[in-house]
Symmetry: C2
Amino acid sequence: MAQQIDQETAGSEQWRGLAQQLRADSIRSSTGANSGHPTSSMSAADLIAVLMSKYLRYDFDEPKNPNNDHLIFSKGHASPLLYSAYKAAGAITDEELMTFREFHSRLQGHPTPQVPWVDVATGSLGQGLPIGVGVALAGKYLDELPYRVWVLCGDSEMAEGSMWEAFQHAAFYKLDNLIAILDMNRLGQTRETMDGWNGDAYAERARAFGWHTIQIDGHDPEQIDRAYAEALEHTDAPTFIVAKTKKGYGVSFLEDKAGMHGKPVGADQEEQALDELGGTNDLRVEVQKPDRGQPSTASSKSAPELPTWEVGDEEATRGAYGAALKAVGASRGDVVALDGEVSNSTHSQEFAEEYPERYFEMFIAEQQMVAAAVGMDVRDYVPFASSFAAFFSRAYDFIRMAAISRANIRLSGSHAGVSIGEDGPSQMALEDIAMMRAVHGSTVLQPCDANQTAHLVAQMADREGIVFLRTLRPKTPVIYDANEEFPIGGSRVVRSSDEDQVTVVASGITVHNAIQAIEGLQEEGISVRLIDAYSIKPIDSGTLRTAAEATGGRVVAVEDHWPEGGLGEAVLSALASQTGGLEFEHLAVTNMPGSGKSEELMDAAGISAKHIADAVRGLLNR
Amino acid sequence: MAQQIDQETAGSEQWRGLAQQLRADSIRSSTGANSGHPTSSMSAADLIAVLMSKYLRYDFDEPKNPNNDHLIFSKGHASPLLYSAYKAAGAITDEELMTFREFHSRLQGHPTPQVPWVDVATGSLGQGLPIGVGVALAGKYLDELPYRVWVLCGDSEMAEGSMWEAFQHAAFYKLDNLIAILDMNRLGQTRETMDGWNGDAYAERARAFGWHTIQIDGHDPEQIDRAYAEALEHTDAPTFIVAKTKKGYGVSFLEDKAGMHGKPVGADQEEQALDELGGTNDLRVEVQKPDRGQPSTASSKSAPELPTWEVGDEEATRGAYGAALKAVGASRGDVVALDGEVSNSTHSQEFAEEYPERYFEMFIAEQQMVAAAVGMDVRDYVPFASSFAAFFSRAYDFIRMAAISRANIRLSGSHAGVSIGEDGPSQMALEDIAMMRAVHGSTVLQPCDANQTAHLVAQMADREGIVFLRTLRPKTPVIYDANEEFPIGGSRVVRSSDEDQVTVVASGITVHNAIQAIEGLQEEGISVRLIDAYSIKPIDSGTLRTAAEATGGRVVAVEDHWPEGGLGEAVLSALASQTGGLEFEHLAVTNMPGSGKSEELMDAAGISAKHIADAVRGLLNR
């Protein structure tokens, strides 16, 4: 029978007892799995015991309660501790705890939101804190609710730059609802960390970044108690608690021992370890429930009145993105925008000017930007984050992890491909389609005109998963009427006739190059079907197959991207078992571009109208 | 006729004159291009004028001289200033300067090593300083030469976490040969930076990270002079010079004006701007040449004596990587290794233990790790950097930029795919092949056994570009004799006969699953050809085409990776125009995996022997 800890009267003795139980359960679960990180869990057990017993306000029966505090294990490998805490809170049984790391158990090696009390997946270090910044931004500026965000950080992950992006942004935005707890156990995976037990080093850095800092002995419950109380009282700045701890604390042959990272206690030593911890236990802690309150940001929702353009107008798709985002922002209060300090390039500026209270400047910190979007999605906002498409490569690990978190975020990447012109290759996204396609459950869109862009932006707001929109720097002519529909997963047959001899598949800028090519070919008597694959993932396999079949398997794919993983290979996958075989020509960027005018660079890359026409002729002459 | 500045007698008047010329030339070149960043160049002109006139030691006639200082513009958009400085040094003509950003000009929008005095491409912010750390590590610990690394940083890029990775690592490694100069001009692209002109904020942070710091007026040549002198005298720590500057300094309608980022001066205003700067000029600065000296690290080179395994042995390919890397390290002194504090997982530890003086612990900071590898390549070392393959996604922007830098770096990513087992999806690389294939000029390798791994590691040392090796966590049986050859770009036909009905293409762990499947199918009388595509890029198109043709176009590709951009699409690209058509079946990971045993997860993902056999049968029954 579980023994209940009374919050009112509980003090260091009870906290110590609970911490020992968390340690014992961390050992039991990982020894049972013969895998996992008990020692990294044991160092932080006192920190979590006091937090759960006295400070955390969380309704385990209602994990989506907007008033809940948020507890994020940035050091996700301490999952045995987290799951042991769930057991102590009565959220899971001891039996379930012992399924740790088993096939089909939701108690995975690293936490994921398959467990309803886990906000986001962690396990790639340095992500929990920046995501916590996102949740805290939502709490302070959108929900305007008094919940707190508690983030347990490891000392090894302090080497990740993303942590320092979080430090900067949390201070800049005065996130006094954010408390980061550093489990400074000194030991990394293979050796001592750069700063060991130099708590002053960490504290000075955090202070220099504008945080309130507290240094404590992380195994002294009374010091922990005072630190948490102080953190809650501090306003105008986030708090960083540097807790000096020992890895494997409480067991003689684990404590502060090198070489014990990520190693479970052997079954033969388990009894001794548990004995040293005072045996197993079944203490139960009643976690406080939060006060009631409603988010202040309206979640009203109507169909957006999208901006429209006349056929023949000239507008960049990035410009249309900005206008459409503003329209979507008008139609629903849960849409928020973030940008990496290039909002006048991506055009998210239009949203920022209209809805400054729902716009978050993330400066040149793409990891923090994506992490903040993930954190806002935790609170069910609908974030659109924009930067140059090339610079989303900076945040790829965050995007990958966001997919594991089942996050719904929208990313708009401008300045795609060589068509950007003079800025040169550092600013050209040429791998972004490959990168974004290879994200689980992602959607990859590339419109070619303004009206199409607007329709896709509207759909993005309702789309689940990681949704990427690739926009162009140069202006392009509007070719579609504002009333046309562009469903995600669809495509647009721009030209077709019964005489078509070759299919050209294009997307974005290359649609316009293809139109130009086809007009020339028509004069030569060559009839070409043109498919605008604005939805690259999911791709419209049906239309592609029909077209390929109608044109004798002759297909040209043309893209402003490296040849690997982009439109061309998406088309090949769709046509992989094309009956009767394919005659496939792939035009893509194969040499490193430099600076120049858009047209010069596209011509040099072999993706201009001339090259498309040549490819069509080449297929017909094979 | 150029007027020479005499280094011996030059003082602030000459420096001021040179700085004004650099400003005028920054305006002239960008106005000529009608594109570029003159105002971001003008703020740093005094800093560069003094550096070039008195402190930089550089032989423009011999850019590969090992004794040269290194000057890296981390704020690559200040390229007009850099090129103007080259003109002042006599390295380029005014005529060439005026080709800025033109098609085919080597003076691109952002610097690239197409210009022989540029070490690395910049333009994605926050990369120059971490790369500078790599060059400085090479200088202090490998070359042991007294050259300095000067890095011009922008204040907007201080928001990038990678800068703080650099701050930590530079201090940890006591890089007193590294001087970072912050051009604190206050204004970003759309607004004021987070810290504006708060020099104390930057200086305190740098100090907290262990740097020597100096704050100056960045437009006062005498203060700049004293700061550089002080930096050169300071030992045991890198120096950070916080220089307060004004964007667009020297021209009334540009100076400290918002909204002028990345905008050239209009042709109609150019004359006024140049007038305010004292007109155009042709001052010439004789940059000091460095003293002579030879790198201390031997560049002797012999064929490595690779480790060998007996057929039937069990060894993980990550284990073979470690053993082979040690062997390659023995055969040549220019090989260096870096790891993201997981060297006992990636097995680079074997190299570290044998050659500690050539091993660099990069801690959990993958961006800094890749940047350091790029910096060491600048000094012609042969870096191998290793981490979990999933965590290279953290450094994707650095890898992308390394390709623009034409860097030769080798990346070894362990723990590929669901086969890692219990750790769960955060640790599983499932997008790494897509990501690495979509890097210009890259090589992507995935061995399936230990002997094959060793041969590939040996070839990696001589391979140009970005070379990625994907290794496995679990042990796999050795199937190849140690004497066999595995050329990059080749493949291995594991099973074949004249009766083959289906081709299976596999790589890494799936080769073993395929062998198991084929053995079962043989008993059913089904004959299958198996191709081990250990070289995924370049892929062995010839062998694939022959096999596909021999088996009636029936091909199964099976990979431990998401379906997009990996082995399957590489195979499709190779077979895109297969005569007679393909019957293609693609087995890849399509659902988000959890924890479990390797076999359980591969089975759930549909890539185990059973699924391969089913796919083969399915193709035959179509």
